[in-house]
Amino acid sequence: MSDHILTLGGVQEEQPAHDAHATSTGISNEKLAMWVFLGSDCLLFGALISTYLLLRHRSTTGPEHLRVPKDVFDIPFTSVSSFVLLMSSLTMALAVGAIHRGDIRRCRAFLATTALLGATFIGGQVYEFTAFKREGLGFTTNLFGSAFYTLTGFHGAHVSIGIMFLLSLFVMSLRGNLGPDKAETVEIFGLYWHFVDIVWILIFTIVYLIP
């Protein structure tokens, strides 16, 4: 079992809950790999956001009202979706905290909540895409449509992959395969989930709020 000591600033010093794997660098190779992946993913999303910025006002085809981003977006609806994804980061962080304390039931509940919030976000995105499509904005309608669907679609794919990982962790915990010895696995997945959240923080401001 892990012990934790409450210190000033509300930070708990964790005692290792298990024998940490020894590495030649003294840091976890898996966590290092995840950070390298996230660093490289910055370049992917940087390319997609830049492409969107370049193309959003250069549409020459499709209906007139579907060429200007601010005439298309439903900001109140997207704000709620953003809030849902933001809160999923909280539940993910709480799941990581719970498994570090060895509280598997709480961790499982927070993992399920995170998956549910992620699925709600994806549901919102599907609804938004469907509404745009119904109005006549398809993937090939104009440059704005292509860039918008590619950027938000890639983000949605990241969230969907995250939900599958969350469900895998949930099933692992049900089968008793997710103990305190797997705390780092949950923490590393948590990094991925929070990254998806910070990418949405950028997209929400750059794409939706500054049209």
Binding site: H4, L6, T7, G9, G10, V11, Q12, E13, E14, Q15, P16, A17, A20, H21, A22, T23, S24, T25, G26, I27, S28, K31, L32, W35, L38, G39, S40, C42, L43, F45, G46, A47, I49, S50, L54, P76, S79, S82, F83, L86, S89, L90, M92, A93, L94, V96, G97, H100, E187, G190, H194, D197, I198, I201, L202, F204, T205, I206, L209, I210
Partner: protein, 119 residues
């Protein structure tokens, strides 16, 4: 000679450090962090409903919204992703990727006259 070196450096095939656990914020701190994020998000969204905000030029909108966006980004990275508490090597790797992306695409967007068009 090689024995001396091995004494200093250790065998490359023999792990010689345990991975270090880092400090974790308490649940209370996570909840406070989420509340801060919610307040900033509410402030961002409020700008949409403020009369005349949409009529401001892009530069003014960016000056108001970007600090809030960056604040949220930093809070999530620092507290939820533990970069504030974890080994500094992780922060360096992530910041390197981030700075590289920002530099590369700023150059690309500038060369493609994005900022000239906006002005």
């Amino acid at each position: 000679m090689s024995t001396d070196l091995q004494t200093h450096l250790g065998s490359p095939f023999e792990p010689h450090h345990e991975t270090h656990e880092h400090a974790h914020p308490s649940d209370k701190l996570y909840i406070v962090t989420a509340l801060i994020l919610a307040v900033i998000t509410a402030a961002e969204v409020a700008t949409y409903f403020i009369e005349g905000f949409g009529d401001l030029n892009t530069g003014a909108q960016i000056a108001i919204l970007f600090p809030m966006m960056i604040a949220k980004f930093v809070v999530v990275c620092g507290w939820f992703m533990h970069l504030k508490y974890d080994n500094p090597i992780f922060r360096r790797i992530f910041v390197f990727g981030l700075v590289l992306a920002v530099c590369v695409y700023m150059v690309a967007l500038t060369s493609l006259h994005l900022f000239g068009d906006a002005a």
